[in-house]
């Protein structure tokens, strides 16, 4: 079959060295659903944004029916009958359904801002019934449910009768029973001959509903197949990388080291982190513990519960109930029920460190100079009148992590992203925490600094203290961890001990439970 639209060798570069997309090829076929999968940051959304005209590629071409076309804006995309339903709704709560549709048909034509075109009620009511959507055109968007909002988004795209439809994680916002309805709709569109691209994290959906699958990893196509000829495990393996040999030595060394430190452990002391059958709105019966002197990873495809769990550890006030079970950190019961849960001030007053998953919203204030930056750790603001932070604390971090430029009078925002990350790591480990929650600790830092940060984490373990590691880099997880919990849709599907079996972990990423409760360690 001839593709209706082809993305040919698309490359998108940020800065000098970061490739969001590198020589990516992608084909749309009429009447087929094409899944685009990969870890967060793999470049899926970037690729689709290039097609929709929201980003521009550095090189590569877009062909429609073998003719090259230029798409510089969503308006260009619409004229080529390409439509996109974004991950986050592009809707305005105060406006009505009719307003949105009016806006939609007037945005693409050169009307100088006047609403010249009016919607044809007949066509709209046809589409409404097709979408099984029973809302009046005068209804304000704000009063619609999430499902209805998404249908309005789809309705907006269908007004153009598009040939190419892109859906960016459409089911992420939907409750389970609505997901089926969504796929019914998609397959109806498919039968009418549309070409559909679906970005998703849910491999089960890919297997059930899609025709082709393309796996992106680190901006490159790592795998492409007809869904009929592959399975979820194979897809998961390509998503997380399949170079099995690279880290086995390191893993072994790490395992040996942890075995010795394990003996040093004082079994009388309580575990630094104990989570007992904890459930809340988006987590189900999480049961885990972290012992002294071990690095434990919360692994899984992004946003399967591990990120939420870390957030709830640091900010129990963000938990949405009903709560079952309990969490205790360094002996402090932080969560037992909704009413008596601890605050983040209580949690942070403990001797813990926290390297947040998103630096700019969790860990660093760009306008702060180094001194104030360190004070984000409560350890450095214990007294009401602040004491100066010792110069050696700061300069030793600067030297240990080789933070450049070597100028301590700058604001954090004046360092490059990688060096900002180093300052965060330096700060959160400077007080020798009993428990370090490290999310993507090496994100954005160069190779040598990665090694240094890994050594710091190992150093914490060596002191018989503990690290919880959350990383989307499976090599990092395998190299550092003493144990791995794999999360899948809000649950722990497996606990793994070294030597780690990469393919078995890969299967758990896809939701498959390992054969025995504790795998590995044969």
């Amino acid at each position: 079959m001839k593709p209706t639209l082809t993305l040919n060798r698309i490359t998108k570069r940020y800065g000098d060295a970061f490739f969001a997309n590198r020589n990516v090829n992608f084909n749309f076929m009429a009447g087929q659903i094409h899944a685009l999968v990969g870890e967060n940051g793999a470049g899926k959304t970037t690729l689709m944004k290039i097609l929709f005209g929201l980003e521009s590629a550095n090189s590569g071409e877009i062909l429609i029916n073998s003719q090259p076309v230029v798409i510089n804006s969503p308006i260009d995309a619409k004229t080529h009958r390409i439509a996109m339903v974004h991950q986050h709704f592009m809707l305005e709560n105060q406006l009505t359904v009719r307003d949105h549709l009016q806006l939609e048909i007037n945005s693409s034509s050169k009307t100088w801002g006047f609403m010249r075109n009016t919607i044809q009620d007949e066509k709209v009511s046809q589409l409404l019934s097709k979408l099984k959507l029973n809302v009046g055109l005068g209804t304000p968007i704000g009063s619609l449910s999430v499902v209805e909002k998404q249908k309005i988004e789809i309705l907006k795209t269908l007004l153009f009768d598009p040939e190419i439809l892109i859906f960016d994680e459409p089911t992420a916002v939907l409750p389970p029973d609505e997901v089926e309805q969504f796929y019914d709709l998609i397959s109806e569109l498919k039968q009418s001959g549309k070409s559909i691209a679906l970005i998703t994290h849910k491999l089960a959906d890919v297997i059930r509903h899609c025709d082709y699958v393309t796996v992106l990893r680190l901006g490159e196509v790592r795998f492409h197949a007809a869904v009929a000829k592959t399975d979820a495990n194979e897809i998961a393996r390509h998503m997380i990388g399949d170079d099995t040999s690279a880290s086995s030595d390191k893993t072994k060394a790490a395992a040996d080291l942890s075995a010795t430190s394990f003996k040093l452990q004082d079994s009388e002391r309580t575990a630094p982190l104990k989570i007992y059958k904890f459930s809340c709105s988006d987590l189900k019966s999480i049961d885990l513990h972290v012992q002294h002197g071990e690095i434990v990873s919360f692994a899984g495809v992004e946003s399967n519960g591990q990120n939420a769990l870390i957030e709830y550890l640091i900010r129990p006030e963000n938990i949405v109930g009903p709560i079952k079970g309990s969490i205790s950190i360094l002996g402090l019961p932080t969560v037992e029920n909704l009413a008596t849960r601890a605050s983040s001030s209580d949690v942070r007053a403990l001797n813990i460190g926290f390297i947040g998953p998103d630096r700019l919203s969790d860990s660093a204030i760009l306008d702060f100079k180094i001194n104030d930056h360190y004070r984000l750790l409560p350890h450095y603001r214990k007294d009401f009148v602040l004491k100066p932070i010792s110069k050696t604390t700061i300069s030793s971090a600067q030297q240990e992590l080789d933070i450049r430029p070597n100028d301590l009078d700058l604001k954090i925002g004046q360092y490059s992203g990688g060096n900002q990350q180093k300052w965060v790591v330096g700060r959160e480990t400077s007080h020798y925490p009993e428990l370090l929650l490290a999310c993507h600790p090496t994100r954005g830092v160069d190779f040598s600094a990665t090694e240094k940060i890994h050594n710091i984490l190992r150093g914490i373990r060596h002191r018989n203290r503990s690290v919880v590691l959350l990383s989307s880099d499976l090599d990092e997880v395998l190299a550092l961890s003493d144990r791995i919990y794999v999360f899948f849709s809000g649950q722990i599907v497996g606990e793994f001990l070294p030597p780690f079996n990469r393919s078995e972990i890969g299967r758990a990423f896809g939701g498959a439970k390992p054969s025995s409760q504790k795998s590995g360690g044969r």
């Binding site: 947040g356 204030i365 603001r381 009401f384 430029p405």
Partner: protein
Amino acid sequence: MIRSLSTLTFSALIGALFLGALCLIAGESPVRVVEIVIQNSMLNQEDLAVTLFYSTHLMFAATGLCLAMHAGLFPIGAEGQISISCLATTVVGLLMGPSPFGIFLALLAGPLTAAGLGAVTAYFKVKKSSHEVIVTMMLNFLSASVANYLVSHFFQSSESQNPETGTLAPAFKLFSPLFSLANTPANSSFYLAIAVCFLGWFVLSRTRWGYEIRAVGLNHSVAAHSGISRARVITTVLIVSAALAGLSSFNQILGYNLKYQVGFSADYGFLAIVVALMASRNPLFVIPASFFFAILMKGSAELDIDTDTITRDFVKIIEGFLILAFVLAQKIDLKSLFSRKRIDDESSRA
């Protein structure tokens, strides 16, 4: 520090520039206008006393505003807080009489009632997510109306034609006049106001609470992950900021007038916003900025009389320009214009 200083001078410079242009347009010599303003605000004790009195009001309120603005808030309730605190002081003094206890209560009444208004603002901000601008704006109207009502219905002085309360006993004059000339308003609460500015600076830059205020103001999400409660910071800062505005009752009632006059405030609470902005939220710079505005307020009162075309509304126009200049100064990174210490992102990469 340097940034605040450059913003201050930049704003003042722009203000002066516009002032000059404005005078020329109005057909008046800028030099003469400045002469009139300075002559009538500083050059004799009588005028200077009024100028210092004004600047005391501005310093109290503007220091409080600096704190609140550092937390990312923009409360505009100082005006209402000032009038309510002055009324409360007078009423408590009238009711309790000049016993030591009564005087003590009158002293506390001002800052405490103002703090109460701050607490109301905080309640709506934290619990109901209302915007502090709206809440404080409403509270300003409310305060003015309540004050008018109370004065006219319960505390109107029988000896006066003006809407004002009776006069407190002389024992309530806790803050002695700065000048020996009779009836000059400047009093020793001026020193307290300067101390408050220094204290405000110290709290912001050297204490945990001040640090938490800054962290919440710059990035409340990071602050929350660092164990700083935004709700607690906002509540405390709104209360303290209001209490500081309430210290104006020391200046107005316990240091000068000993009675509440309806409409006594020359928009001190609103001018304080401009002062805090011009001081770039640094309480130390509030001192010169307050003085600057007090000079303008006092000096321009004479412009009506001494010039043909320029009136006291002149000050309002200058205020407007200063706010504009401040916004400009925030947009332009002045420091980078004067200093070469900039980090090239590329060169810092290993």
